[in-house]
């Protein structure tokens, strides 16, 4: 009986972590879908979101909700600026140039954050007391509930936005065929900017949630989650919005189950192994469509 409980508990933990991955992965997937770019600096936007929240709560003395909103807004601005300054000039450049620029942007954010915020691990101001809720033999913390709640809310909002608004239609049009969208009178540049803004806002929300959940932030916190969220996006099908959610949740759960089944030592390697296996055998991901490369 014991191991079933463990699995159930790990499932809950995994879903919490997975929700975070999903929020970050959404940003990756939306940007990739629209301009075919892996925004390496996305993990750093997540990190900046956490820091914005930190300052909002501890310096500006805001409560949780306004802090989250403020942080999301600030991160959206950063995302838009990043796109404008670093990526837009390279719209027609070879892929390798843009990818290298993205790597450069990622390093720049990390180093600047270290200079500005300091290198130390900062404890996150706790805006909520700790509470555990027992559900039979397993339990869930109020922070985990918060993560689920916020993540689900944001994902639903995004889904509504993408599928039921004019703007969402424009996004899908640009993702489908940029030239055609231009011909239809869509302001492609603006759509791209807004996509970056949305993705960044989601990442920032994830950042604050993580800050609260794990109680600690530092300038390098975006590296591993960023990479793992990217794997999640690829797993679910990069460019496909529901794919990011599925991929993120799967990654979170898989990571936690690996520890139960096997060794915790190789947990990181699992993420990369998953990535390579997916890329080799089903590069379009679980929910993606197979694309044919035309000569």
């Amino acid at each position: 009986m014991a191991w079933q409980i463990t699995v159930l508990q790990q499932l809950i933990n995994g879903l919490a972590v997975g929700s975070i991955y999903a929020l970050i992965a959404l940003g990756y997937t939306m940007v990739y879908g629209i301009i075919k770019l892996i925004n390496f600096a996305h993990g750093e936007i997540y990190m900046l979101g956490a820091y914005f929240g930190f300052y909002a709560i501890s310096v500006l003395k805001l409560s949780l909700l306004p802090a989250i909103l403020l942080s999301m807004g600030a991160a959206a601005l950063v995302g838009v600026l990043l796109e404008r300054i670093a990526y837009r000039p390279l719209r027609s450049s070879p892929r390798i140039s843009v990818l290298i620029t993205a790597i450069g942007a990622s390093l720049l954010f990390q180093s600047t954050a270290q200079l500005v915020f300091g290198a130390s691990f900062k404890p996150f101001p706790q805006a909520m007391p700790f509470r555990r809720i027992q559900l039979g033999k397993v339990f869930i913390t109020n922070r985990q509930l918060l993560i689920f709640g916020v993540a689900v809310l944001l994902m639903v909002l995004l889904h509504l936005l993408v599928n039921y608004t004019k703007f969402g239609r424009a996004m899908r049009a640009v993702a489908g065929d940029k030239e055609a969208a231009l011909l239809m009178g869509i302001n492609v540049d603006r759509i791209i900017s807004i996509t970056f803004a949305l993705g960044s806002a989601l990442a920032a929300a994830a950042g604050i949630l993580v800050g609260m959940y794990y109680n600690r932030i530092d300038p390098y916190m975006g590296m591993m989650p960023g990479l793992k969220a990217f794997v999640a996006a690829v797993l679910g099908g990069i460019g496909v919005v529901p794919g990011a959610v599925v991929g993120g949740l799967l990654m979170g759960v898989a990571e936690n189950l690996v520890v139960v089944i096997g060794s915790s030592t190789l947990r990181d390697a699992v993420a990369f192994a998953v990535l390579i296996v997916v890329l080799l055998f089903r590069p379009s991901g679980l929910l993606g469509k197979k694309g044919i490369e035309k000569v």
């Binding site: 140039s97 620029t101 180093s111 200079l115």
Partner: protein
């Protein structure tokens, strides 16, 4: 270089450089501090030129190069320390195992393009690091200490020269042209009789082999290897990539210049150490936006051209 005179001249110049360094070293003009920097320059030249073969000349986007470097470093160290193998055979073995790993990475790489390949190679690099981290025979997390100092400046310099010559010859041979064809248009190349598969894998293996030799030289220089991201992980891979990109993809001369400059420059900028990691990325982004072909823009320095200039003949532009 087809001109016998230019080959001779190059050899003489290289020999003079070496002799100059040794003389200055024994005369006390060059401190061990300087010689260390020069040796590291040579090792970085090998790394950047070998990566250029994969990324620049064959157009494959590999950012896991540090993995091959790590394999060469650790295997050669294991051989010399635990099995008392002499240095040069150990170095070659390190390179060979790295080359075989390049084969293993190259084969699946066939199916991937651009961004996906980049991420996959990054993943491979990290998997290699995690494996080393968990291998107690080479120290695991504690690192591998007690490696004898077999690498001298002369050896590093010689290996660098061999690497550059080998890759340059490869590039200007038929094999090299095939790789270029793969770079220009992977899908059309087979229609010209070029087996994309074969050449991609060849480029990976060859590049990996040389990276492995660089690793062997490195571990026997520093005398200690730590399985950290900055020494054998993605941070190191990115370091090499930055040098490659700034020097210019497809330009061997550019790779050499960038490797040397970016190894030496941080020493001069020690006052700005805290800002270095802010300046480098800005530089990288600026280069990508304003001069994406790199500093040398894909051109090569050729002694031929220089000599022709002296002779008054028109300079032949070497297409690379």
């Amino acid at each position: 270089m087809k001109n016998k005179l230019s080959i001779l001249l190059t050899a003489v110049i290289l020999l003079l450089i070496y002799t100059g360094v040794r003389l200055m070293e024994s005369g006390g003009v060059l401190l061990p501090y300087h010689v260390q920097i020069l040796s590291l320059c040579c090792i970085n030249v090998i790394l950047v030129v070998s990566l250029n073969l994969i990324n620049g000349f064959t157009g494959q986007f590999s950012i896991g190069h540090a993995g091959f470097f790590a394999i060469g470093a650790y295997l050669s160290a294991y051989l010399t320390v635990k099995l008392q193998v002499p240095f040069v055979p150990a170095l070659i073995c390190g390179g060979i195992l790295a080359g075989i790993t390049g084969l293993a990475v190259g084969l699946p790489a066939l199916r991937l393009r651009g961004d996906y390949l980049a991420i996959a190679t990054l993943g491979f690099g990290e998997i290699i690091r995690v494996i080393i981290l968990n291998t107690n025979a080479v120290g695991g997390a504690r690192g591998f200490s007690g490696i004898p100092k077999y690498t001298t400046f002369g050896l590093a310099y010689l290996t660098a020269i061999i690497t550059v010559v080998a890759i340059r010859n490869f590039v200007s041979s038929d094999y090299g042209r095939a790789c270029l064809a793969v770079r220009e248009d992977e899908i059309a190349a087979p229609s010209l009789g070029v087996n994309s598969t074969y050449f991609k894998v060849l480029a990976f293996s060859l590049g990996a082999f040389f990276a492995g030799t660089a690793g062997a030289l490195f571990s026997h220089y520093l005398q200690y290897m730590a399985p950290t991201p900055s020494q054998i992980g993605f941070l190191k891979s990115i370091d090499i990539l930055i040098m490659l990109v700034l020097g210019g993809l497809g330009s061997i001369t550019g790779s050499i210049v960038a490797a040397v400059v970016l190894t030496v420059l941080p020493e001069f900028l020690r006052g700005f150490a805290e800002y270095r990691m802010v300046i480098y990325p800005i530089l990288l982004i600026a280069v990508m936006i304003y001069r994406p072909a790199g500093l040398l823009a894909g051109r090569e320095f050729s002694l031929d051209s220089l000599l022709n200039l002296f002779k008054g003949a028109r300079t032949r532009v070497d297409h690379s």
